[in-house]
Structure formats: C-alpha cells, structure tokens
C-alpha cells in the first residue's frame, strides 16, 4: 500500500507545477501593474516606484521571476505580503486553522445528519415522514447561504440571544471554557456551510441504502437472525465507497462556500484572506493561497484513495493485482 501512496503522491507533482505556472501567468496577465494599485489616490515618487519594482522583481521577465519564486519556494519561502510586509507563510498559517476547522465541522455535520436521514428514508420509503423530510432538505438546498446566514443570525443571535453573532472567541480561562465558546461561535457558520451538502448527501444516501436494502445478502443476514441494527452496519459498509467519492466532490464546494460564510460571520479564515488579497492585488499572498488550495484539493483526493483502500477489500486486492501485473 505504501508504494502505491508514494506513486500517487508523486503523480501530483506535475499537477502542482502546472497550477503554479498557471497562477503565476494569470497574475502577470492582469491588466493592472500592482504599483498602480498600491499607489492609491496619491502618487508614488519615482524613487518609491523603483524601490517597489526591485522588491517585486518587476524589471525581470515573468519567466525569470517564476524561476526565482520557485527556487525560494523550494526553500519553503513564499515571499512577503505586499500589503502588510508579513511573510506569506505566516499570513496563511494564521488564517488556515479557522477554515480547516469550519470545513471539518461542516463535513461532520453533513454526514452526521444526512446519513441517518437517508437510512431512515430508505427504510420507510414513501412514508409521510420520508416525504416531508425530503421536501425540507430540498428547501434547505435552495436557500442561498448568505440568506440562510442572515436568518440564522437574526433569530439565534439577535432575537433569542443564544449564540454569538459573529467573530471568533477569546481564549477563555480554561480549555473547556474555550472549547465551549468556540463551539458556540462556530455553530451558525457550520450550519450555513452544511446546508447545501445535506440535501445532496441525504438524497444520495437514501438511494444507495434503498438499493442495498433490497439486496439478497441483507435478507439472508436478517434470516440468520441478525438484529436490525447490525444489519444496518452491513448496509453502511456496502455503501461506503460512493460516500467517499461524494466527499471528494463536496469538499472543494465547501471551501468555496466558506468564502461567503467567513465574510458574513467575520471569521478570519483563508476565504476572507483570499478576497482581501485579490482586492489589494497582494500577489505573493494570492499565489500562496492558490497553491495551498491546490495542495489541499490534491491531498483530499489522496485521502479519498486511502479511504477506498481502507473500507473496500475489493479495491485493495485489485491494486495488489495491478502491482503483480506490472511486475
């Protein structure tokens, strides 16, 4: 399995390289010279422009700039933010945990709600509860996340005052207190981000479970006296592969959605950083963030592959066969 993973990881290198070239090219093709952007309504003196140009290496050709940028990257140096002078890596690292946490919680919430929902729907198809549930999910799916965010804020933070409206918590006196406060702050944004995923995964789960429930092995297992619960366990195991594939498709969508959610809930995450950096034409940060999201998506796919191997023995043996074929 390890050699497979190494091969798999190495195959992402050309992709990453391609993405970095593309990002670099796009930024260099943008019509505005960053210096014009930063010079604001006042003006930059000739000296200041020259200073900035050499700082940005703008007097070199794009190819030369890409080469020196790539070399610095190999040393782990992403450059400095043009907006505030901090190292790009530090800027990104301070924002990344919020986005990862938000997305992680959303995935848990999506699957935690949608899978039982789908299982319930599949086990009593056509019942009133099943129909109502499906209608509700479609409705939630149709609500744009910014509208949902405003409604949730209005109810839970303003009218009822149960949850904080926006922002992230202060570090509390105890770890427990901090965690509790963090959970309260993240609840609304997590729900907003999860909304669109729920309907998708639940409908998917319902269909997958329905077909699995109709399969023969289940009837045999039940006939052998397996409890309903243990039988469900087999159903879930048999339907796990498509769920994992689904995960690979939702995660990039979530990352995109978190730009809006972070903006509305004033979370200092990567999505908001992306937005402000593009507005400020802060090239080093934009390139760093693009590269980061590429790495994240690629490692997401890698993770999905690993999960396949873990949950499905058939795939595992298939891979081993492939290797023996190759050998």
């Amino acid at each position: 399995m390890i050699p497979f993973l190494v091969r798999r990881a190495l195959s992402s290198v050309p992709t990453l390289l391609g993405i970095s070239v593309l990002t670099f090219a796009i930024l260099n093709l943008l019509p505005n010279d960053p210096i014009q952007v930063w010079s604001g309504g006042g003006y930059y003196s000739a000296e200041a422009v020259e200073h900035l140009r050499s700082e940005l290496r703008l007097e070199q050709s794009p190819a030369a700039r890409y080469a020196s940028w790539g070399l610095a990257l190999l040393r782990g140096d992403l450059g400095r933010s043009m907006r505030d002078g901090r190292p790009v890596a530090a800027v990104i690292v301070s924002a990344l945990p919020w986005t990862l946490l938000l997305n992680f919680c959303s995935v848990i919430l999506i699957y935690g709600v949608a899978v039982p929902f789908g299982l319930f729907g599949a086990s009593s198809p056509g019942s009133i509860a099943d129909r109502l549930g499906r209608a509700l999910l479609i409705l939630l799916y149709a609500v744009p996340s910014f509208a949902a965010a405003l409604l949730l804020q209005q109810w839970f933070a303003v009218r009822l005052g149960w949850l904080p409206l926006q922002g992230v918590p202060d570090r509390g006196a105890t770890a427990l207190g901090t965690t509790a406060s963090l959970a309260r702050h993240l609840l609304l944004p997590t729900i907003c981000l999860a909304l669109s995923g729920w309907a998708l995964v639940a409908r998917y789960a319902r269909a997958a479970f329905r077909s699995a429930l109709g399969r023969e092995f289940l009837a045999v297992a039940r006939a052998k006296g397996l409890s309903r619960l243990r039988a469900s366990g087999h159903v879930v195991a048999n339907t796990a592969v498509p769920f994992i594939t689904l995960l690979a498709t939702i995660v990039p969508g979530l990352a995109g959605g978190s730009v809006i959610v972070e903006q509305i809930f004033s979370l200092p995450g990567v999505g908001r950083l992306y937005l402000t950096s593009i507005e400020a034409r802060d090239y080093p940060v934009v390139v760093g963030l693009t590269l980061l999201s590429a790495v994240l998506v690629l490692s997401g796919h890698l993770l999905v592959d690993v999960l396949y191997l873990v949950v499905d023995p058939r795939i595992r043996s298939g891979l081993l066969d492939e290797r023996s074929d190759a050998a």
Binding site: G167, S266, R272, A280
Partner: protein
Amino acid sequence: MRPRSLRGVAVTLLAAALLSACTSSPPEDRGAVAPSDYGGRFVYPLRTEPATLNFVTASDQPADLVSRLVGDSLVDRDVDMNIVPRLAESWESSDSGRVLTFHLRAGVRFHDGQPLTSADVKYTYERVIDRKNHALGHLDGFLPVERLETPDDRTVRVVYRFPYAPALSAWEMPILPRHLYEKEDFLTSRFNRAPIGTGPFRFVSWEPGRRIVLASNREYWGGRPYVDTLELPIIPTQETTLMALLAGEIDYASLTPVQWDAYSRDPAFTRRFATVSYLSLFFYYIAWRADGSNPFFSDPEVRRAMALALDREEYVRAVLHGLGQVSFSLFHPAILPPDPDSRPLRHDPRAAAALFDHAGWRLDPKTGLRSKNGRPFRFTLLIFSGGEDHAQFSQVAQESLRALGIDMRIERLDWPGLWARLKTGDFEAALSGTVPAGDPDDVVYGMLHSSQIGDGRNYAGFHDQEIDAWIEEGRRAIDPQARSACYRRIAKRVEELQPYTYLFFPKVLAALSRRVMGVEPSPRGLIVQYPGVIRLKIRQQPGG
C-alpha cells in the same frame, strides 16, 4: 469599502465653521447624566483591516483612525474642523508666512515612558520625505518645506520655500518614537504592527482578521480618557454590522438609507440607539477626460451640458431617500462656506440640449443619437463595482442622457482596476469619490492643478492657466479673507468649465448605542476629531 483618495495634506486657516451636521434623535447631552466614573468599553467596528499601523506609511481609513488614537499630532481639528493645538502648545508664523515655529508641550511621554522631544518630530518628518517610504498621505504637505530645525528639545522650526498658507494641515500627522524606530528597518519594524505613540490610547493587541484593542493611557497629558477600552473588531459586511449592533456586540454601526428608513423611526430601536446623520467630507464626482483623447469632453460647453443633463437633486431625493446634499460647489460647506452669489448648474434638459446643439452635437433623426462629423455621441462611464450607489446613480444618469440622444455605456471595475484606469487616463468619463483634507487647497491642488496630471489626482487631465495661477495664489495667501476670495473665484470658474461634475455628499447614517455619551459628529466622523474621543463616556450599568 468606498473608494477614496488618500487624504492629501493641507489645512484651513479659513476655519470654516459651518457644520452641516444634524442629528435626528440626538445622543444625550454631556451634562444630562453625570457618570463621574471612568471605565467601560467602547466597541467600534472597522469594515476593513489596516495594512500597517505605522503612522507615516498608513494609507487606509482604519489605520488613520488607530494612528490618531495611539499617536498625537502637533495640531488637529475639532468637531467643527477648526485647527486646535495638540502636541504643539502654541505656534507662530514669521517671515510673512515662510517660517512656522511650534512650541511643544512639556512633560509628554511615549507609552514606553520615554519623553517626546523635537527630535521625534524631526525624525517623523524625515521619514515622510524619504521617498522610499511612500508616505503618500502626508508627503504633499511637506513638499514646500525647505528645511526643519530643532533649536531645542521643545521647539520645531519649519522653513518653507515660499509663504505656504495650508502649512498647518500637514502637521496633523502623528509623531513616531525615534528611539524605537531608529534601531529597526522602517518598513518592516515590529512597531508597525504594535505602535507606540504619545496619544490618549495605548496599543494592546492586533489579532489579524479579527480585531484591534486599545486601552486608555492613564497618564495622557490631556487628561485620562473616560473610556478604559476601545475595541475595534473587523466586521466586513454591513448587514452583520447592523445585527451585531442589535445583538449588543458593538456600540456603533453605519446604516444604508434603506436600513435608516426601516430603523430610525422604530421606537423600539431608538430607545436603545441614538441615530445620527451628518454630511461627511466624502463626495462623488464624474471626471470628464478632457485631454483630447476623446471627441466629446475637451469642449467645456459639452461638459457644461452634461452637468445640466444630470438630475442630481432627483437622485438624492429618490435613491438616497433625501439623505444627502447635491454638491453645487466643489468645496464641502465645512471647508468653504457656500458662496451666496454662485449660480450652480441645476438640472435643465432643455438648456442642455441647446448647448449640445451649439457645440455641434446635433440629433440624428435616423439613429436617435446626437452626432458630430459623423461620429455618434456614445461613450463609456467607468464606475466602481463594489458600491450599489455608484450603479444606481449611473443608471439614472444613463436614462437622462438617453432622453437627450446620448448613449452612455457603463463599465464596472473593482477598485484597483478603476484606480489604474483613472491614473493612466485610460477612460472617457469616470464616476468616483474622494475624501478631501480639511484645507480647501487639498481638493483644488490635487484635482485641478496641471502639475497633478499623471502623477497626482488630476484624473480629468484638466489644464487651465487661470485656475493654476489662482491655486498658487491661494497657497501663498496668508490673509484668510484673501484666501477665501481666491477659492471662491476658483469654484466659480470650475462651475463654468466643469472638468469634473461634482455630484453629491451622501449623508453618513449611523446608530450609536445609548450607553455612549459625549460624542458629536464631525464631518470627518464620530471619533476622528479632537479632543472628542477623550470625552467619550460609557454609561455605567448599575452594578456592572
């Protein structure tokens, strides 16, 4: 964020005190409740995050605000925009306006305990004029300086190359601690993210993307501020800001005209919040590119016709819900009181049509468009894509012009994109906005003087010898009466030539928690004024 030019630098000796502020349900009077106690926390949201807190290189509004709270400038402006002493106890002008001598207060210390001396002032000045630092917001006002001398620890003598009337304005710049910065690289110093000044508030923390926290400087030479903690959370959206106010998380929120209409008459809202509206210095304008690169706007007659064609009053009434004022002069009323003799160009489509005809742009019955020498009157207006008001006004304008046989297209750009096009002059007409500094020189020199084409803010590429001469006369006129007269002449000629059509000053609409007392709006804002912010008080909750 609204586009705005960097505050140029300059100053008013005119001390125009006509404050066009009005409050519809005014914050309670300072004397009404007497919280003798100090303390409390004032939470004032920022829409965007500052790029740096270095007083000299700071170029955005939030950074400017923090600089004025943590730092102290030699002079500042009060609620009515009059120049008042701050670090400088007094000053005098000699050699018929060429020399300005400041006397610094005794016993002023930085937050780290070091005393402030004239050397710090000199150091700060030198950082501004060092072009490598791109201290854009402050540089203009120091360009006429010949040299700066510090005869002793408490005296700063500034010698100008010529009698320079707006000189004081440039000294609204907070003073940096030389002893700390000297040992570091100026542009990457750690003090750029954790500033130390002599101001009424000490810097406590800056959590990126989240908030900036300041605490009162109990040893402040001007007296301890009433408020103990000033918290500046970064809340990027207007909707969330309003809800955060309703949820009691913050004490201040700016409102849109729609939000204002919905809330300012709601008793449940006004019981908790004071609603405040005032004319800020910000105004919208359209720049007509007049350098000959298009066949339309080099002709002043056409520009005048455009001004007559635009229904600015109707826009303020219908779209801004009356919450604004048409700018029939290029000067904000608090900067230069309106001229009773001026004859502004009001909406008059018939007169506009006559002017277009006279200028040779005649209606072509086949196309329904005006044309001249076979060229149809079709141009593109650049606007900022981030502001709903920009889009609304340009659509209203598009309709009015269409009725006169002019086809105006609208191109929406993000702020950096719009700015770049303005700077390079690559446009026919552009709608933008700016915040002028307190001295009338700032807006005329920056936008109208021919030396500011290309390098400066004269985006229209406008060049008029007479106006150039008057602007220079205004800069050198030490007598306030003569200066006023000079600027009125400029305003009158600008109204005739219309290099820019000044559109309107939108009112700033805001709601303020009733816990907060002692603030009056100034055209520059609620807390950017001096010594207003020191007097701000938080009503203490009984038992809390």
